[in-house]
């Protein structure tokens, strides 16, 4: 059965998972002051699991349940840099599944602890291999352990589908259809590809942002030229591709907290910096997605 927003909502009614989505859209009045375009931010830290990944995690698990893949004590498995792991652990806890998340060692302590708090298992891989090393290990585990159901956020069509049927329509409704651009970073690419499917046919220009080089500090984003390419990624989903330097992203992350009261992860700062650059160049109403909150990075040097 093809998943719809109503069907997913019905399936989780009366649980914390029913609060996923319908996140706030707020204007960035100070950061946007003096720019030609108007900036609005979609605050995804308002999801119960604290990030945009709640949406994809919920839809991937419900899709696997519908396909009968999670019967008989199966284990939800995925590779993650953190947020998807937290979201899958939370969703699995509510739905009664075990979960095993593969992530590079030395990711922030908060992430590992939150995942374990939800009762999921963390498998750590060589930190020098980054997320791509975690992906390779998840693939290996999926092959040797028949209990594992590898939901694979990088290839799973339920990931962009969640954004096509929830994030995109929410933004359209919250702006009364009055927006010109949507800006977001690219990691799995689920957000960009899904929102593009929902809003591009309605005339919204889609702007995808990547880190400017392979060694960067923008959590969750991928430098596509040097990374394992997600199967769901399609460059043509975006009308425009931009790159962002980590240093500029960090400056904007701090401005978001001090000027707008939005405590964001660095990826949110990166996306807003790209949106602000766009707003300097042209008029319009620009919606930018802030993927998570800053609490998850308190043990990193950023906030020392």
């Amino acid at each position: 059965m093809t998943l719809t927003a109503d069907l997913v909502r019905e399936r989780v009614r009366g649980t914390i998972l029913g609060r996923i989505g319908e996140t706030p859209l707020v204007p960035l009045r100070r950061i946007g002051a003096g720019l030609r375009g108007e900036l609005w931010a979609k605050i995804e830290s308002a999801n119960p699991g604290g990030s945009v990944k709640d949406r994809a995690a919920l839809w991937m698990v419900i899709a696997a349940e519908d396909e009968g893949r999670l019967d008989d004590g199966a284990v939800v498995l995925d590779a993650t840099s953190g947020n998807t792991g937290i979201a899958l652990a939370m969703v699995s806890a509510v739905r009664g599944h075990r979960a095993r998340l593969v992530m590079p060692d030395k990711v922030s302590l908060e992430r590992k602890r939150i995942i374990r708090a939800f009762g999921a298992e963390v498998v750590l891989t060589d930190p020098l291999d980054g997320t791509d090393g975690a992906i390779r290990e998840a693939r290996r585990l999926a092959e040797i352990d028949l209990e594992c159901v590898y939901v694979d956020q990088y290839s799973n069509p339920a990931n962009p589908r969640a954004h096509e049927l929830t994030t995109g329509p929410e933004i359209w409704s919250q702006t009364d259809g009055r927006l010109t651009h949507f800006v977001a970073g690219v990691g799995t690419s689920g957000t960009i590809v899904g929102v593009s499917a929902a809003l591009r046919p309605r005339g919204v220009r889609i702007v995808a942002v990547q880190p400017d080089n392979a060694l960067h500090g923008i959590d969750g984003w991928k430098h596509m030229p040097t990374a394992l390419r997600p199967a769901i990624w399609d460059e043509r989903a975006a009308d425009e591709h931009r790159v962002m330097a980590t240093d500029e992203a960090i400056v904007m992350t701090k401005r978001l907290a001090r000027e707008e009261g939005i405590f964001s992860g660095v990826s949110g700062g990166a996306a807003v910096a790209a949106a602000a650059a766009l707003a300097r160049e042209q008029p319009g109403r620009i919606v930018v997605l802030i993927a998570d909150g800053g609490e998850r990075y308190l043990s990193t040097p950023l906030w020392e």
Binding site: P127, G187, S189, L215, G217, G220, H223, A227
Partner: protein
Amino acid sequence: MSVTVRLPGALRDATGGETKLEARAGTLADVISDIDRRHPGFRSRVLDDSGALRTYVNVYIDESDARDAGGTGAAVPDGSEVMVIPAMAGGAV
């Protein structure tokens, strides 16, 4: 008097494709300078303009976080292993 330095793939372009190098023991700053002499530009990839570790670069000296041991002034004794790791992980939007 040498140490082993392991680098992530993301820094391969700065070291001519090498991800495992030998360097002279000393402080972490000495180790980075030694690599920079052979691979000019390496230093600016891991240190900022003030000479501190970039916020998104973590360095472990025999599994201990260099930031907890004095940052670039941390001792890197003969025979130790240094790991340079991107603080980010990448791939979850």
